[in-house]
Amino acid sequence: MNREEYKGVYVFAQQVDNKVSNIALELLGKGKALADDLGSEVVAMLLGSDIKDQAQILAEYGADKVIVVDHPFLKEYMTEPYTQAISAIIRECKPDVVLFGATAIGRDLAPCVAATVHTGLTADCTKLDIGDFPMNPIPGKETLHKQLLMTRPAFGGNTIATIAIPDFRPQMATVRPGVMQKLPRNKEAKANIIEFDAHLEKNDRYVEILDVVKKVSDYVDIQDAKILVSGGRGMQNKENYEKYLRPLANLLGGQVSSSRAGVDQFGIPKELQVGQTGKTVRPKLYIACGISGAIQHLAGMEESDLIIAINKDETAPIFDVADYGIVGDLFQILPILTKMVEQELAKKAEM
């Protein structure tokens, strides 16, 4: 394997119902930064059926080039045709780095691609850097420069590991949604579109779709919220989320979310769950109310810009990550706080 032959940071531009997913834009943002460090370009791989019109959006969010594979087999996500198409691009274009979102689709597709092209894959990364491997020189061992260093939590967030793929290309990773930042949109950007024929052929691994059943969601995605007012076991029941958290969230222009305890015990919808088995969020403000802060919960919210926690138990682990931790009874504090915030906002409106 000649590492010099492999160039460019390629990202899988996930689309659902012919609409590019947010994760694709986040990957472009990070991919652009990595490409700058490597002195190369960031390329989006867009797969679908009648999908070309989405290429422009990818350019506006930083793609130097968009490779489009347009084929009826790619209309709805299916493991095998998608694996064939991405593997074909990799064999033809020889990218240095390939990134996928750690979504249900990305975590199905990426391992199949890595197994097909024989390379390494790091799952669910929260940090990507370009650097040396080994990170500190080891006598008698060659130090490789400009390697992709992929950092990920494991063991339910108890540990963190940095992984490299020194002897295989491309270096592949899935990246957790909500962790990387997308670039500001540049409407002037023009897409450099390359249509790619992946020569898709049905084989034994193709499966038949009998039905696609969509869930209708009544909720705004908590990953898009700038402010989250979040509840946990201390909320006692579902009604208290509406009574105590919702008014404050509404005033601040935010959303209500929950820890796993609220989902499992009070029937809060799973879509609103923050944490390892829920969603990773990084809002400007996260207010944790009656959340003790299990390690799996912290893994999903500790990157928030500002964390305020209210909890009765002064030893609760949530206080280990909170910028401001208030020891007290949320049922007493929240109504007064909501009123004060309302007054402050009213004062501001008068000015």
């Binding site: 709805e76 493991t79 249900a104 689709i105 975590r107 199905d108 990426a110 391992p111 199949c112 890595a114 197994a115 097909t116 390379t119 390494g120 894959l121 790091t122 799952a123 669910d124 990170m135 260093l149 063991f155 339910g156 108890n158 540990t159 590991a161 940095t162 992984i163 490299a164 002897d167 034994d204 691994r205 499966v207 038949e208 779709i209 009998l210 039905d211 696609v212 059943v213 969509k214 400007k284 403000l285 912290l298 964390i307 305020i308 002064e314 206080f319 280990d320 990550v321 909170a322 910028d323 401001y324 931790g325 208030i326 007493q332 007064i336 706080l337 004060m340 915030v341 402050e344 501001k348």
Partner: protein, 261 residues
């Protein structure tokens, strides 16, 4: 119908984790259980056995002490058990692990292969899909429901906002979610029998069509650059207010300071 279920012995993460000096996990120092998603996969296989009749074989790759989860699986109702263990297989990443399991499965009969979606130690969810590629089998990831119709499996594959109902010809591979079912308990008779039955041991030489360059640490494309306990960002200020009004004033002041309001 022959069903092979791949299971893994994992450390119970509730007890905290420990490392060897080289940054790899010190599995010996932690409590070991059958991985929850794998147990759901085993339960799914046992229900198919109850309904349609099948022979269920459990396979694990690990240290000799992984015998414990194979006995547990047999006590739940699995018919046969295979332990793939060999010094040269250690330190494997998902590529090398899936290559090893593929080598072991080529020596077995199967119409259906079931793996858990992911293990609670690595959380990668990669071994099932990679195994399907090495064996050339169609895959249904995140299976939340399944039934058999003749030579086909009808399975529901869960995605974020939807599920697909898929029709897949056997042989095929499914990865199971722990939401798939509630695994049964071992029965006293089952436990007794499980310790009478033999466990088949497979070593490096028993793997079929497996290259040395694809197994163990040397066959692993990924390498650990650094491993450590997670460092938290560190606590900020903890405030013990006089009363609720004091607390609310404190928070309001902070929100103003940070230009939130």
């Amino acid at each position: 119908m022959n069903i092979v279920v791949c299971i893994k012995q994992v450390p119970d993460t509730a007890g905290g984790v420990k490392f060897n000096p080289d940054g790899t996990l010190d599995r010996a120092a932690m409590l070991a259980i059958m991985n929850p998603d794998d147990k759901a996969g085993l339960e799914a296989a046992l229900r198919l056995k109850d309904e349609y009749g099948a022979k269920v074989t459990v396979v694990t790759m690990g240290l000799p002490k992984a015998d414990a989860i194979l006995r547990e699986a047999m006590a739940m109702g699995a018919d046969d058990a295979v332990l793939v263990t060999d010094r040269v297989l250690g330190g494997a990443d998902t590529w090398a692990t899936s290559q090893t399991l593929a080598g072991a499965l080529r020596a077995l009969d199967y119409d259906l292969v079931i793996t858990g979606r992911q293990a609670i130690d690595g959380d990668t969810a990669q071994v099932g899909p990679q195994l399907s590629v090495h064996l050339g089998l169609p895959i249904v990831s995140y299976t939340q429901k399944l039934r058999i119709e003749g030579d086909y499996v009808i399975a529901e594959r869960m995605f974020d906002d939807r599920h697909h109902v898929l029709k897949v010809k056997m042989p095929c591979l499914l990865t199971a979610l722990s939401e798939l079912n509630e695994p049964r308990y071992m029965t006293p008779g089952g436990i007794f029998e499980a310790f009478q039955k033999p466990v088949t041991i497979m070593g490096r030489k028993d793997l079929v069509d497996t290259l040395d360059s694809n197994i163990g640490k040397v066959g692993s494309p990924t390498q650990i650059a650094k491993a450590s306990d997670k460092v938290r960002k560190g606590a900020g200020t903890q405030y013990i207010p006089e009363d609720a009004t004091d607390a609310a004033e404190y928070i309001t002041a902070k929100l103003k300071e940070k230009f939130i309001i």
